[in-house]
Symmetry: C2
Subunit: 513 residues, 2 copies
Amino acid sequence: MNGADALLSTLVANEVTACFANPGTSEMQFVAALDRSPKMRPVLCLFEGVATGAADGYGRIAGGPACTLLHLGPGYGNGLANLHNARRAFTPIVNVIGDHATYHRQYDAPLNSDIPAIVAPNSLWVKSADSPDAVAGLAAEAVAASFGPPGGPVSLILPADSAWLETEGRPVIAQKPVRPAPSGDAVEAAARAIRAAKKPVVLIGGQACLAEGLAEAARLQAAEVTVYSDTFIARTSRGAGVFAPKRMQYFGEMALAELEGVDLMVFVGTTLPVAFFAYPNRPSVLAPEGCETLTLAARSEDAIVGLTALADALNAPTHGPVQPLKLPDAAQAGKLNAYAAGAAIARHMPEDAIVCDDSVTSGAGVAAAAATARPHEVLALTGGAIGAGLPLAIGAAVAAPDRKVISLNGDGAAMYTIQSLWTMARESLDVTVVVFANYTYRILNVEMQRTGAGEAGPSAKKLLDLGDPRTDFVALAQGMGVPAVRCETAEAFEAAFAAAMAQTGPTFIEAVI
Amino acid sequence: MNGADALLSTLVANEVTACFANPGTSEMQFVAALDRSPKMRPVLCLFEGVATGAADGYGRIAGGPACTLLHLGPGYGNGLANLHNARRAFTPIVNVIGDHATYHRQYDAPLNSDIPAIVAPNSLWVKSADSPDAVAGLAAEAVAASFGPPGGPVSLILPADSAWLETEGRPVIAQKPVRPAPSGDAVEAAARAIRAAKKPVVLIGGQACLAEGLAEAARLQAAEVTVYSDTFIARTSRGAGVFAPKRMQYFGEMALAELEGVDLMVFVGTTLPVAFFAYPNRPSVLAPEGCETLTLAARSEDAIVGLTALADALNAPTHGPVQPLKLPDAAQAGKLNAYAAGAAIARHMPEDAIVCDDSVTSGAGVAAAAATARPHEVLALTGGAIGAGLPLAIGAAVAAPDRKVISLNGDGAAMYTIQSLWTMARESLDVTVVVFANYTYRILNVEMQRTGAGEAGPSAKKLLDLGDPRTDFVALAQGMGVPAVRCETAEAFEAAFAAAMAQTGPTFIEAVI
């Protein structure tokens, strides 16, 4: 076998079985080796930002890494923003980055660049397999490193000659690291502080927001400790039968107003909350002044074990409050807006659906109704780099082919990685895409005020407005092979979304709001 | 004024008057300040790879930098690949990268990342303006640094508070560096070596391929020194009245076969040629064994002065050979292919047109016919990161509104930055886009053989084939507001291209080949 075979056999041996790719010449040996590794599923993405976002969605749902296949520094660059999001989601991903042959690097050919430098800021681990014999061992190291804890993208650079030269390449099994439980001292300290506090709050994030964590967090709520979750969560459960913690508000001053009087914040699977952006004369840190803070479980620790221990220490009931099943009674009517769309989504979304949310200002409309919908999971935009909603859905659908995937996107966000639609059609993925078309970067109109920049004049408006021309998303979707419909009324959206849930395969709804 | 005003007034004072942008919250002050700097033209791009590629096209044609406006590390990341191309084109670009407020960075908010690390590999110069008073001076430094020589992208990081805080901010004028002339010794050495050589070759690149450089290079050809150009040139003249040097072949073994017997290579505005990729048992360096090499003018030196001095030293005639005007006689007929399309393009392309070429395997068909077309300029893919052809055209059209811009793209390449079409419509740019749709990454089918990877089986084909589904490019273009037509015959293409040349504004042709 050659180095590419060695890489694939170690990846597959470690249950890395999906490869989101856009290869070039330096990756041709890996591509050819795929035919000899039928357990690896190759998924072509027409742009690397789709590939990395898909790997993020896959890793969040599968709980283990997919690999990407990227073409040198520029290929990685195209995927960088969604790897930033994945880093912020702590999603395990093994990036395989093809490079020039080791002996060719010195000549600085046109595609040469400083790959280790470019990838370092968004990689937990970076190594280059500079000989074919090193490939299998490093691939196993990469897989192990991607699990963290708490996990994240890693980057394995594969020079072309390491791929084409022969090697023995026995598969190497990765030692998957174990998340340590928080110390008994930390649990005791948290319990003691909560008992002593007047208005304690527990803030959960990451692993603590998975279904199992929410069940334990609900016990705290039952013990009259208010539970908040981070604003943007990599993966969480929502809907009927699920505990719904309060959510940290996006805007800092609103978050602080809500937290007024809180004298203790205990962090579980997350850290001290901070404002998403700075604004003139507004706070960066979102804890009330003088509030005591302490960490029960760091992101790298087992937050679920921590929550259970804390609930036990507080003698909390074995079960806490969960959401009722309460679907909006009837279809809404009239001009479509995000709330009417949200009601329709809540009414028809099946149990166990996966919602990939990059809907920015329209998201609130869906969250409101979905809070008591059939139980489902939500993958949010963790790193603030828009363009994740479509690729995440690709990865989620590949990881969970039996679950309905719903991708919610602002129109500005959707245009970042619109090529995703082609891959959904290519792979017949069971994804329903909704694009909320308001023809503006709505959030920026709000932010312009908040940053003190004043009213947008003609030049500023040219950078905020998306309405000239109006993108015809139906044409784009159909042009990439995805059946599509445009809805301007609540009735039309209700019908379109119901039809989408009743069928299988990719479909697209442009929601004009 | 605030820091954002200071930045804009220094940029405008230094003739940086186009801003290709996709801003976020941290850039809102810059956006607002645009209304107070009417000389700066803001051009919204729906994805940052469009913005950076447009800045590349602008800089190549204008000879000075545009600025980009990018949203922290992820925004830059989205633009990285086309900045890689710009670095390889030595195009001056001033990237303005918004960042969190200086005091907010420490909290590692979701969009935080190591911006200096991410930008360094593709930036000639990187600084962060960490106070409003530093902005104007650093902006002037950035502009100056972007000129090199030989020029390239630079990165000015602008924290949000440096933008919103007040400053005096008098505009600072950049000291544009001068390209030094090659030394007299270098000229004499080159002339002596050429006289002594049996089969000397001069290889020109960069600045030497501009119209003025080609005229001097033609004199060398008239003195019986064979002139080659680099394979991919940032900007060069072509067609009737223009000297056509031989072009270094893309595949190394073909290049070396052509250079057989060459005993001297003199480099002017370029360096020792190397293979684009390495292949098993094929050479990396594209100079015959034992061939003497020397540099007349480094990329940072004035290559045109160098060529003139060398031609004088060799007593070359004052004029050399130029291409005749020879248009294909008649429209071709039958099934469309790249050569038939090339003939139609050559017949109808007006004088002074700018061709932005990202057409990969289809490019040869156009180059053949265009060699004797009306004189025009060509901007090539310099860094190998596909997805440049559409954005380059945006920038070229903004820099030269009176010239017809023609963007030639492979279908795989076009999908990388397809969002460009929206900006062409938005700005009513006079760009005719051609996408050659062969429904495969054709080049990779060739490269798979050459790398010794063998025949593509079913898995490999899944990563090379673009035909399932077939992208309907006409739908995509129309969906983004650009009138479009699909051509499957040579007659249809001839008619569509002639019509495109006869009108003004964006138009799109899907050439099914």
